[in-house]
């Protein structure tokens, strides 16, 4: 067998003894070394630690220990997730340096399942952005066309999987940050229901919106990762104590009779014709295979971007108040007093997008504007959520595009924040409503760039959502396509 392979395949060959975890991890690290110079998907890799973890897996297997479901599988993790090893940067100078004193819940879960964390991936600073161009360490390039963005903010994780540097990665999704880069890079990305995966150890951006989600090359791998990371954790008060089904076992549910909702609201002005056609072709295919297509209306979805760009910056401005030059990370030199210490540290170390959002959030929460902006946005959020509640009374999942276009060029939108925000137009409402959604490849445009299909499910509807996505992949081969540069490797 040749690496790269899927998460499921790697776990099988390690479990059977056909390959050692050390061999798998060494090949993975070599591949990162050979490939990542051109893509900058990774911010850090700890080769020695990864190999030593792999040695432990192999030793455990030799002793006859029961192996976890991800034993020997190399996994990359977005660098806003705390690890006690290496550094956690959030792509920001303000956390230079920061060595977490604890591991995030998802890290404990992954390592408990035998996964080997091989590195931390690039992101927009504090996960604020849609292109992975806003990090302190520079931009990640799209493996399908290095002149284009990988999407964001989990662009490093999506690019690493797309270039087959790792079989799986974790990203985080506050307004589409797992799904949009997955779409741009031609891989699968899931935003679980809010509360499904503990946020303990995730550096908070928008606390009512953030959710950690898996990225992999097919739906089965994503389901396996969700099996491992989902579940209750008392250390996150928003973690929901709901049973975790075996998502892999439920993938075989047939498409027959599944009700798929389609709303015109996702197919309006601004949507690229090729993206529209590919998404409709996917809907038609599922219809031919037995799914029922049901027209639905989501009348308030058009307000989602406006609503989000009040709520998310408001939450961000509060969350990022902790970066003050006192407790951790960077501190300005020679401050003249405590206020100057705060003001100068933050002014010097935050990048432009983070500053913009802190400013926006501070403004909408400030005295005299709170009701007009923040409270109003929370009420419109209720309307958006009710639209989905109503829709899910008559459908099981909703099909739509993930993004209005395929991957745009590096630098194309960096000077126009509003244009960048409108990138998230189809993904944001799932975060506002707290529901689950998945992005999966459904075609390539004429330039050879991947197109994403989004399927959205109700809260805690991952089981059905993943099975519909898997059934689609059983009938198509878009998820097996690889970027031209990596196909030969």
């Amino acid at each position: 067998m040749t690496f790269p392979a899927t998460t499921v395949e790697i776990a099988q060959v390690v479990a059977s003894g056909e390959r050692s975890a050390q061999e798998v991890v060494r090949e993975c690290l070599d591949r990162i070394e050979a490939t990542d110079g051109a893509l900058s998907a990774f911010l850090s890799c700890d080769r020695d630690r990864a190999l030593s973890c792999a040695r432990n897996i192999d030793a455990g297997r030799a002793k006859g220990d029961k192996l976890g479901p991800l034993a020997g599988v190399p996994v990359a993790v977005k660098d806003n997730i705390c690890t006690t090893f290496g550094v956690t940067t959030c792509g920001s100078r303000i956390l230079d340096p920061f060595h977490s004193r604890y591991d995030a819940h998802v890290i404990e879960r992954l390592e408990g399942a035998g996964a080997i964390i091989v590195g931390k991936t690039n992101l927009d600073e504090f996960a604020m952005g849609s292109s992975t161009e806003h990090g302190a360490s520079g931009s990640t390039h799209n493996p399908w066309d290095p002149a284009r963005v990988a999407g964001g903010s989990s662009g490093g994780s999506a690019a690493a999987v797309a270039a087959r540097m790792v079989p799986a990665a974790l990203g985080t999704d506050t307004g589409g940050s797992v799904r949009q880069p997955a779409a741009f890079c031609g891989v699968v990305g899931l935003k679980p229901t809010y509360g499904r995966v503990s946020r303990y150890g995730l550096v908070a951006f928008g606390s009512s919106l953030d959710q950690i989600g898996p990225i992999a090359s097919d739906v089965r791998d994503v389901a396996l990762l969700l099996n491992v990371i989902a579940g209750h954790d008392a250390r996150d008060s928003t973690s929901v104590d709901a049973p975790v089904p075996d998502y892999v076992a439920k993938l075989s549910q047939p498409l027959d009779g599944v009700r798929i909702g389609v709303s015109d609201r996702y197919f309006g002005e601004g949507l690229d014709g090729q993206v529209r056609d590919a998404v409709w072709a996917a809907i038609d295919l599922m219809h031919r295979e037995g799914a029922e297509i049901v027209p639905i209306d989501l009348p308030h979805m058009k307000y989602a971007v406006a609503c989000y760009y009040i709520i998310a910056p408001a939450e961000a401005s509060s969350n990022l108040a902790r970066f003050d030059g006192v407790h951790y990370g960077f501190r300005t030199g020679e401050p003249k007093d405590i206020i100057d210490l705060y003001v100068s540290t933050r002014g010097q170390a935050f990048g432009p997008e983070v500053k913009r959002r802190i400013m926006l959030g501070t403004y909408v929460l400030s005295s005299g504007y709170y009701d007009a902006y923040y409270l109003k946005a929370l009420k419109v959020r209720t309307l958006i959520k009710r639209d989905f509640d109503r829709a899910f009374e008559s459908v099981d999942v909703i099909a739509s595009p993930v993004t209005p276009t395929t991957a745009f060029r590096l630098g194309e939108k960096t000077d126009d924040p509003l244009a960048m925000y409108l990138e998230d137009i189809y993904t944001i409402s799932a975060n506002l409503a707290g529901i689950c959604a998945i992005s999966l490849p459904c075609g390539l445009d004429r330039q050879g760039l991947p197109i994403g299909l989004q399927l959205t499910g109700p809260a805690f509807g991952e089981e059905r959502l993943l099975s519909v996505a898997h059934q689609y992949q059983l009938r198509t081969d878009y998820h097996t396509k690889r970027p031209p540069a990596t196909a030969a490797a």
Partner: protein, 101 residues
């Protein structure tokens, strides 16, 4: 809603956010934030009379743990990432004015 921010307002908000901004940033933020604020004006269109706000989407309100004593972090661990510390404290510049106010 006031859909534009002038440079004075930008400086005021930057002060509230404890964020040093350059003159150039003030000009740029005034323009960009005004453009974003005018985009979000559309939130005035839907009627929200009697609609409760949604701060988060969970059907969960307060979560309580047992009120029991548990070990907490040792000072060394808490201070590990501090840019400056002294004994068991985070070290910061003078908080009160030179004249002791």
């Amino acid at each position: 809603m006031a859909s534009s921010l002038d440079e004075t307002a930008v400086r005021h908000v930057a002060h509230l956010a404890r964020l040093d901004v350059t003159d150039e940033e003030v000009v740029r933020f005034a323009e960009q934030l005004s453009s974003i604020l005018s985009y979000v004006e559309q939130l005035n269109e839907p009627d929200t009379t009697g609609i409760p706000p949604t701060a988060h989407a969970l059907p969960v309100t307060n979560v309580f743990r047992d009120d029991t004593v548990r070990p907490c972090w040792e000072p060394d661990r808490a201070l590990h990432n501090a840019p400056q510390h002294q004994e068991d404290f985070f070290r910061v510049p003078r908080v009160l004015g030179q004249d002791g106010t």
